[in-house]
């Protein structure tokens, strides 16, 4: 017998605090496998967000620094500028990246920092109990949009992958989903491509991942995963929006 599947070296053997069916666990694994396969674990510094993934340092077998809410791209910039030999990534949710951190992500992208951004889009603020996020869909009910998000007063969702792609500096911007084995494998390839761009000093790489949040969506894990493909994908198209290498 040979081992067909096991935990990547870049992840610690930990029981996570994520809810049953939450996408974070899958994304952690995809990043972990990527760090293993690109031989990056020992020179990686991850920047943890404020959000469900705040305890990133309990799950990743790499050096991690905890950023204030939204500031991860600024920390990542600082790290990479003084230690450009290290592999630097940020791991952020909707509120962290697209709300309070909007300034930091746009400017890190605008400067074209040679870092990798993993953006987990689950259309709500998970950790604080399901409030509206900049990525919440129109008419979506959350704890702060009890009658559904009204675009007239609450605005429209931000399509971050497209916004980043429209800047001159970034090297890569894409959106994937992790709903089924085929798409999860595709997401893995995209994440690996993004990290490899940093390895080759090719610039700023951004991967947005549509992810399930069963608890705050009030759905079972199976229903939540289905909602990602049905409702979320119709607003957030999958694809590669910018790729200077043109290979993805």
């Amino acid at each position: 017998m040979t081992v067909a599947f096991k935990k990547p070296e870049s992840l610690l053997d930990a029981k996570t605090i994520y809810c049953p069916g939450c996408g974070h666990g899958v994304i952690h694994r995809l990043v972990g496998e990527t760090l293993d396969e690109l031989d990056l674990r020992e020179k990686t510094i991850g920047v943890a967000p404020v959000g469900c993934a705040v305890l990133l340092y309990d799950y990743f077998n790499t050096d991690i620094v905890e950023a204030p809410h939204g500031r991860a791209p600024a920390l990542a910039t600082g790290i990479k500028r003084v230690r450009n030999d290290l592999n630097v990534f940020s791991y952020q949710g909707d509120g962290d990246l697209a709300s309070i951190g909007m300034g930091e992500i746009m400017h890190a992208a605008g400067r074209g920092e040679n870092i990798t951004i993993i953006f987990v889009n689950n259309a709500n603020y998970g950790m604080t109990g399901g409030q509206m996020a900049p990525t919440t869909l129109p008419d979506q009910v959350t704890t702060t949009t009890p009658r559904g998000r009204k675009t007239a007063t609450d605005g429209f969702p931000f399509k971050m992958a497209e916004l980043i792609a429209n800047l001159d500096a970034p090297a890569f911007s894409a959106r994937v989903k992790i709903t089924d084995p085929k798409n999860i494998n595709k997401a893995k390839k995209t994440i690996k491509y993004a990290f490899n761009l940093q390895k080759e000093n090719k610039g700023f790489a951004f991967v947005e991942i549509l992810s399930a949040c069963p608890t705050n969506w009030g759905k079972t894990p199976s229903e939540a995963v289905k909602w990602v493909g049905d409702a979320m994908e119709s607003y957030y198209p999958l694809g590669v929006f910018k790729d200077i290498g043109g290979e993805e």
Binding site: L12, R41, E42, K43, T44, I45, V47, A48, V54, L55, Y57, F60, N61, T62, D63, I64, V65, E66, A67, P68, R71, A74, L75, A76, T77, G78, I79, R81, V82, R83, L86, N87, G103, E104, M106, H107, R111
Partner: protein
């Protein structure tokens, strides 16, 4: 051979930091410290070190936090409204015990205020403007040379205690030009103190963080920070004072002390028995040393460019309000020597 040059305060501070082995500078323009950011934008790339003009002061302090978590010497500079924006980052860095240097070239406030020199951020610096119980080590230079010397030393102090250090200057200090002797170039010695994030090669992974959720762990950490500050207070208090039994002992820091020195010189020439107690570290504050000095003098006159902030620390030291007079100049203006002279003469009565 140490060089002697005529330099603007802002630029001298920048050069001193460079010579101390500064590896990363992250800043945002704000008057009256723009010369620092501009100077750094030219000098840092020359020395092949990192410079970023950040998109805001919020971003700047967080770039410092990230970069400094790798163990490299990093710095940001700003002025009052920008330092207000950095309070979150400062709290995080103190909680995570990440060393770095922050320079405040104070201007008038509150809010947008003006661009004149002020000392109105004493409370913010010494009482902590960010959330939680934490302490910055705060130095208040009163000449450009002192600003150079303190900035040059600040990185090692910061690293010794894993605690951010603030240089509390003001617009006058930043803008004035004086002759300075610049220190020699040095670099941070290569070391691994066991906390720096450098990539988990050949060791367990490390984390730099201020979150401590497990029961009892945050209490433990706060007590550790408290012990650390007690140690800093025992070791690092600095002040300037010539022993004496004065009729009026002026207590002032920074530029206010600088102007007061002229007033005191004039009054001494007229035969008056007056002296100066000048805290160099305003945090930790020299409570014990001031109490001793004050006990020998008849009257204490606190002179500050604000509405009365260090005044509270003086009152805490001296424990005798009747003995304490105060003159303040808030609103981004300096005293003239005559103004302070007149106040001292009032106190002498």
């Amino acid at each position: 051979m140490a060089e002697k040059l005529l330099m603007k305060g802002n630029e001298a501070i920048a050069e001193a930091a460079l010579r101390a082995g500064l590896k990363g500078y992250f800043g945002y323009p704000i008057t009256p410290q723009n010369e620092i950011t501009a100077y750094m934008s030219a000098r840092m790339p020359e020395l092949e070190r990192a410079f970023v003009q950040a998109e805001s002061e919020v971003a700047a302090i967080n770039m410092v936090y990230g970069a400094a978590s790798t163990g490299e010497r990093c710095m940001t500079t700003s002025s009052s409204p920008g330092i207000a924006l950095m309070q979150e980052g400062i709290s995080y860095m103190c909680g995570a015990e990440v060393p770095a240097v922050i320079v405040n070239i104070t201007r008038g406030g509150p809010g947008l205020g003006n661009i004149g020199p002020s000392q109105c951020d004493y409370n913010q610096a010494s009482r902590g403007g960010g959330n939680g119980d934490y302490d910055l080590i705060v130095y208040a230079p009163h000449t450009v040379q002192e600003a150079v010397d303190l900035t040059y030393r600040s990185f090692e102090i910061s690293e010794k205690y894993r605690n951010p250090v603030m240089i509390l200057g003001d617009g006058a200090l930043g803008q004035m030009a004086e002759t300075v002797i610049l220190p020699d170039f040095k670099e941070k010695e290569k070391s691994d103190e066991g906390w720096e994030l450098t990539g988990a090669k050949g060791r367990s992974p490390r984390s730099v963080k201020s979150l401590r959720l497990a029961e009892g762990t945050l209490l433990e950490h706060n007590l550790h920070l408290e012990e650390k500050f007690k140690l800093i207070s025992r070791n690092e208090i600095e002040y300037s004072y010539e022993e004496g039994a004065y009729d009026v002992l002026v207590v002032a820091f920074g530029t206010a002390a600088r102007v007061a020195k002229t007033s005191l010189k004039n009054l001494k020439e007229q035969g008056h028995n007056v002296g100066l107690f000048r805290p160099v570290t305003v945090h930790p504050f020299p409570y014990g040393e001031l109490k001793k000095a004050a006990s020998k003098s008849k009257k204490i006159l606190v002179v500050e460019m604000n509405r009365g902030q260090m005044l509270f620390d003086v009152r805490l030291s001296v424990q005798n309000d009747e003995k304490i007079d105060f003159t303040g100049k808030p609103g981004g203006e300096t005293f003239s020597p005559e103004e302070i002279e007149n106040k001292i003469l009032s106190s002498l009565k």
